[in-house]
């Protein structure tokens, strides 16, 4: 096992805590009716985006999913601008035009949340092929859920990446459900590792609530990609704590399952216990991060609520080069 520096550990904790706080607050605000639109929360899966994206630079690209806030935060997007985007505000990451399901920040290599299931993977293929074509050391990561792995686009992307030996990582997030249908029903293969490996690439499965496990597996895959070793799949298993979308009645799921998850599969709790037990971090350091993050998210929500909406003429811009 690799020894991680204090800097890395503190960064990991801050990212996971930021995702947790952002999503928890969006859940509250959504229920109160202040956040317009549909939203799909990443609660329970924070360690995956964090463990993967901590190996990436701004020049590395990721494609995301409808459940994309966690990927955004882990990739370094400005949290306040994200909140502005959710609130339809002019100064949001996408000027309020994209919203939760299409949030993007190209300056951070975040190619966008994507509400079309499976549509992100080919985009990441393009990013990886660009890196190979131009001879840059960049890699791309295609985030996608277990449900997305059944789309033809993902099958095509996996084969394409293997055939062209692309610097690409398929970060499959098995959260147990494709929308409202459980994986035991929707997946024909024995498991996602076997299926991904069948395309001809290394594939491994890790506990997606264990930051260290994700970080190490993703590190191997990213290093392989950067070294010209081609694509890999990392399947991280972490059930989501919320419904498919906010407001989902979740009739397909035993709600006791969620209680258990919060008790035993909380990536933050697990991380905290481990780093305190092995003496690498102190509780006070983590508490300080908790307080700072809570303040940041609170400020983000307050600023987003108070921020100006787009101007009328903004409605018909960004469609073509000319308007």
């Amino acid at each position: 096992m690799v020894e991680l520096s204090q800097t890395v550990l503190l960064k990991a904790y801050r990212l996971m805590r930021t995702i947790r706080e952002f999503e928890s607050r969006v859940a509250v605000e959504f229920e109160a009716g202040t956040v317009p639109g549909f939203t799909h929360l990443y609660l329970g899966q924070e360690a995956i985006a964090t463990g993967v994206c901590m190996h990436l630079t701004d020049a590395d690209a990721i494609s995301s999913t409808h459940r994309g806030h966690g990927h955004c935060i882990a990739k370094g997007c400005d949290v306040k601008k994200m909140m502005l985007e959710l609130y339809c505000k002019r100064d949001g990451l996408c000027k309020g035009k994209g919203g939760s399901m299409h949030i993007a920040d190209i300056s951070k290599g975040m190619l966008g949340a994507n509400a079309i299931v499976g549509a992100g993977a080919p985009l990441a293929v393009g990013a990886a092929l660009t890196a190979r074509t131009l001879g840059t050391p960049n890699v791309a990561v295609a985030f996608g859920g277990d449900g997305a792995t059944n789309q033809g686009t993902v099958f095509e992307s996996m084969n394409f990446a293997v055939v062209l030996r692309l610097p690409l990582i398929f970060a499959v997030e098995n959260n147990g459900y494709g929308e409202h249908t459980g994986i035991s029903y929707h997946l024909g293969a024995k498991d996602l590792v076997t299926r991904s490996a069948a395309f001809g690439m290394p594939a491994e499965e890790v506990d997606g609530t264990d930051f260290f496990a994700v970080y190490e597996a993703a590190g191997r895959a990213v290093a392989r990609a950067r070294a010209g070793g081609g694509p890999s799949t990392v399947v991280s298993v972490a059930a989501r704590w919320r419904g498919h979308f906010e407001g989902d009645p979740q009739t397909y799921r035993d709600l006791a399952e969620i209680k258990e998850l919060r008790k035993h599969k909380d990536c933050l709790k697990k991380f905290r216990q481990r780093v305190i037990a092995d003496g690498s971090l102190k509780a006070e350091q983590l508490d300080a991060i908790d307080a700072e993050v809570a303040q940041l998210i609170d400020a983000a929500v307050n600023e987003a609520k108070a921020a100006p909406p787009p101007a009328p003429e903004d409605l018909t811009t960004d469609v073509y080069v000319s308007y």
């Binding site: 317009p36 639109g37 549909f38 985007e85 339809c88 505000k89 002019r90 949001g92 996408c94 000027k95 309020g96 035009k97 994209g98 919203g99 939760s100 399901m101 299409h102 509400a115 079309i116 299931v117 499976g118 449900g147 997305a148 059944n150 789309q151 033809g152 686009t153 494709g178 929308e179 409202h180 249908t181 029903y185 929707h186 997946l187 009739t251 397909y252 909406p309 787009p310 009328p312 903004d314 409605l315 018909t316 469609v319």
Partner: protein, 335 residues
Amino acid sequence: MTMAQALNSAMDVMLARDPNVLIFGEDVGYFGGVFRVTEGLQKKYGRNRVFDTPIAEGGIVAAAIGMGVNGLRPVVEIQFCDYIHPAFDQLVSELSRLRYRSGGQFWSPVTVRTPCGGGIHGGQTHSQSPEAVYAHVCGLKTVMPSNPYDAKGMLISAIEDDDPVIFLEPKRLYNGPFAGDPEQQSGRWDAHPKGEVPDGYYTVPLGQAEVVVPGDELTIVGYGTLVHVAVAAAREAGVCAEIIDVRSMMPLDIDTLAASVKKNGRCLIVHEATRTCGYGAELSAQIQEACFWSLKAPIERVTGWDTPYPHAQEWEYFPGKKRVLEAIRRIMEIA
């Protein structure tokens, strides 16, 4: 009944009448559909006839085509019409073309149900209106009801039809009529005459427009949610407008539209979809061809803008009551 319940009732009736009818799609079985349109059907008819599929729209439509060719009568749901594009090739190159290219030997009577339209703050991938795209594909029928009574009768017609049908359901109308004013709540279908829906079998034929409100000063042609917007706008304008619900884009009942425009001499076309090559362009062309010498004013269109459906500014995009009202006044001012 609400529109969602009426559609459910149509499938219930057809599952009971015809053993070849089956329902499948994403979350339509156990969960009952994200808009509850297929609720209870799996429980009643079993998993062999009402079943869930993986998230794979291309596969859903393709499998339905194969079943249709082989004697079954599949009704598939694409959860949002914005998700339909992975199936585009199957719809355009296969489903619509089989009859022609086999010289009439075989075809596939698939019905593709899919929620369309905005007004629910769904942003660009949960709000679009693709009727013009499919009306353009010969071999497909494309229809869109605007109320529970028509929804049930038209869905039964679609299922019984040996031609493939793209059945677009304006999602903003599922649970109540909506007159296009975001400040006001949706109405209630149980208080609307078209919310009265018989329990059993009946049909509303495809390819027939309906005069929703008779009038002799102006003809307003629309479909889906915009029918309700037009009714409210005309009332507020104090204009005696004849409001026609197109209901079926392909085949189009041009006779009903032309008779009205010839009588009134003024015509406004309204739809949610983007403007350029929107279905209003076809309506305008056909009405002009049929009614040129009777027109007292240019035919006008009120539509969505030529932009993707926005997250912010939904109500600036959506052609609501205000914009329809302004257009009515413009047309009526022309001497």
